[in-house]
């Protein structure tokens, strides 16, 4: 009961702040509302006993990526951006996507959970906490894909640095 009400609060906060993100004219305000969204999604992770995901969500998204967003936004002229109307062209496409998603959700609610083949969520062993379970899966079962993905990210990063670098005489 308590978990359910906490979930409802977090879900409402996540969704309403998500709406705030796309309706704010000032990009800095959008970023602040996006931080609120990420926080409440992190709270939902915590509600599912995924402490590691919660921590990573805060460290990476809130503490890292959003700071870089702000960093970039502060360097552009906020006043001129605020005057431009957002979604001048894409609103029809956006509305279409929303309609499709709404239909899918309505269909799901109409049919009920029982009519879908959902996998049963696996729980980590009692003596092991969430972090160890994630580490075990990542670095034992899927070590090669993880390494390949990290190599790809590294190459992309080096490429970005090389492109941004000024050429000295």
């Amino acid at each position: 009961m308590l978990a359910q009400s906490v979930f409802l609060i977090l879900a409402v906060v996540a969704l309403s702040s998500g709406v705030m993100v796309i309706t704010r004219r000032n990009p800095v305000h959008s970023v602040i509302w996006l931080i609120v969204t990420l926080f409440s999604v992190g709270g939902i992770f915590l509600l599912q006993y995924a402490q590691f995901l919660f921590a990573v969500q805060i460290i990476l998204y809130v503490g890292g990526i959003m700071v870089l967003y702000l960093f970039v936004i502060m360097l552009i002229r906020v006043e001129t951006v605020a005057k431009q109307a957002p979604y001048s062209r894409q609103w029809a496409i956006g509305l279409g996507a929303v309609l499709v998603l709404a239909c899918e959700l309505m269909y799901g609610v109409y049919k009920g959970v029982e009519s879908f083949h959902l996998g049963t969520p696996s729980r980590p062993p009692v003596d092991m906490n969430n972090t160890e379970a994630v580490a075990g899966v990542l670095y034992n079962n899927y070590m090669l894909p993880v390494e390949i993905a990290s190599l790809l990210l590294l190459v992309a990063m080096v490429g970005a640095v090389l492109m941004a670098k000024k050429r000295f005489e």
């Binding site: 000032n26 800095v28 305000h29 602040i32 931080i35 402490q51 590691f52 919660f54 921590a55 990573v56 805060i58 460290i59 809130v62 503490g63 890292g64 700071v67 870089l68 702000l70 960093f71 502060m74 360097l75 906490n129 969430n130 972090t131 000295f168």
Partner: protein, 436 residues
């Protein structure tokens, strides 16, 4: 009566936690307030001055006077400022700094631990990385040049130095095998070797990064007076400025407490396993007695009667407290909290000491230290630690591990110094390239 207390704790866990949080908050606020005074006094002594002397004996009531002044000052919001962001920015800083103290263990018993998260270390990294929003948003919302420049500098600096700090923490994690701060201290207790002796390089990296992340000298570029008047909080006044001030000093206490927990054995007494040094257990009452003696000595020389009697009362109070602490039951009870506090204060003193010692870095020097030196060192430290632990196998001898780690740390330091130093451009080359 004792059973009643246990019953109470079992019946109302949330209430007990709330009481603990309030106590930690109050004590911390007091420590922070007196840190400001201590900083002014210590800096003054290091520069052969007296520091604050007017408010109370030796300026002891200066924090109260400062607090009152800042509370009563006008709260100015600059024209053209983003009001909402301007108002919440300092609050974010303070909340982020205070929240982390929820997972710091002050002693082994459950009464001295607010909560023991099994992802405690991740929680610390996550929440303390939120403090940067207070600085960035505050600088941006002021709608003014100096704050914006200060907050841009700060964003770059904090993001840069979070990386080596995080990697140094991972080194501790490898050695202690846990993310829970309580378990990290317990691992240091059972191995009989504090993490500093296994991770000397990691501690140095953590310390430098910690100074940079708290915006303290020599890394205080975000608020460099000579260039930016006051950096990100130039436009703040009154109590909102006080909130930024509190956040800065709270995060100093925080990184000191973290360094103590991660590297200096938390609440453990130095050489806890050496029986010959058990007399160290009597240090709490002895130090209180020494405080009483020093205060009494100065009280006799104080010319103002009211101040003289106040100091005599303080001395008498310390002496009585020393008597209470000397009771055998109490002396064991205060052991952990005493050692924890003593270590934290030693590190805080070092923070003030740096400020009196080092000149401020130039911006390119700051970035050089972070990216060219600390990050390679931290990476090398991580790899070397993992290799040594793999080589030593489970349950290695204490001395074997110590010497292996020492050798690995030295090797990493030398290799990185050679590699980075060999590739670093000389000052003349940099001048030629940038044309400055």
């Amino acid at each position: 009566m004792f059973n009643d207390a246990v019953q109470f704790v079992e019946n109302y866990p949330l209430l007990v936690a709330a009481i603990k949080i309030v106590i930690v908050f109050l004590v911390l606020s007091g420590v922070v307030a007196y840190m400001v005074l201590a900083e002014r006094k210590v800096l003054a002594f290091m520069q052969a001055r007296l520091g604050p002397m007017r408010v109370g004996p030796w300026g002891l009531f200066q924090p109260a006077a400062d607090g009152l002044k800042l509370l009563l000052k006008e709260d100015i919001i600059p024209a053209g400022a983003d009001k909402f962001v301007f108002l919440i920015a300092p609050v974010i800083s303070v909340v982020a700094a205070f929240t982390v103290f929820a997972v710091i263990p002050y002693g082994p018993s459950s009464a001295l631990i607010i909560t023991d998260l099994n992802v405690g270390l991740l929680f610390v990294v996550a929440v303390s990385s939120l403090g940067i929003y207070g600085i960035i948003l505050g600088g941006w919302a002021s709608n003014s040049h100096y704050p914006l420049l200060g907050s841009l500098r700060s964003a770059a600096q904090l993001v840069s130095y979070e990386i080596p700090a995080g990697m140094a923490i991972v080194g501790v994690l490898l050695v202690s095998n846990s993310l829970s701060l309580v378990k990290i201290v317990e691992a240091q207790q059972s191995s009989g070797l504090w993490n500093f002796f296994l991770q000397p390089l990691g501690f140095l990296i953590f310390l430098i990064a910690a100074v940079a992340e708290t915006n303290r000298n020599p890394f205080d570029l975000p608020e460099a007076e000579s260039e930016l008047t006051a950096g990100f909080h130039t436009e703040y006044s009154g109590f909102r400025f006080a909130l930024y001030f509190m956040a800065e000093y709270t995060s100093m206490v925080l990184v000191s407490a973290l360094a103590v927990v991660l590297f200096w054995g938390g609440w453990l007494r130095p050489f806890a396993s050496v029986a010959a040094l058990d007399f160290l257990n009597y240090l709490p009452p002895v130090s209180l007695l020494m405080i009483a003696g020093v205060v009494f000595f100065f009280a006799r020389r104080n010319p103002v009667p009211a101040e003289k009697w106040f100091l005599v009362a303080v001395a008498a109070g310390s002496a009585v407290l020393a008597g209470v602490v000397a009771v055998p039951v109490v002396i064991t009870a205060v052991q952990p909290i005493f050692w924890f506090t003593a270590k934290v204060f030693a590190l805080l003193y070092a923070f003030i000491w740096y400020r009196a010692t080092f000149p401020r870095y130039r911006y390119d020097q700051l970035m050089n230290v972070g990216w060219r030196w600390l990050i390679p060192l931290a990476l090398g430290n991580l790899i070397a630690t993992a290799c040594v632990l793999w080589w030593a196998g489970p349950n290695p001898g204490r001395l074997k591990l110590f010497f292996a780690m020492l050798a690995a740390n030295l090797a990493v330091a030398i290799v990185v110094a050679l590699l980075v130093g060999w590739r670093s451009p000389t000052a003349a080359a940099v001048e030629k390239q940038t044309g400055s």
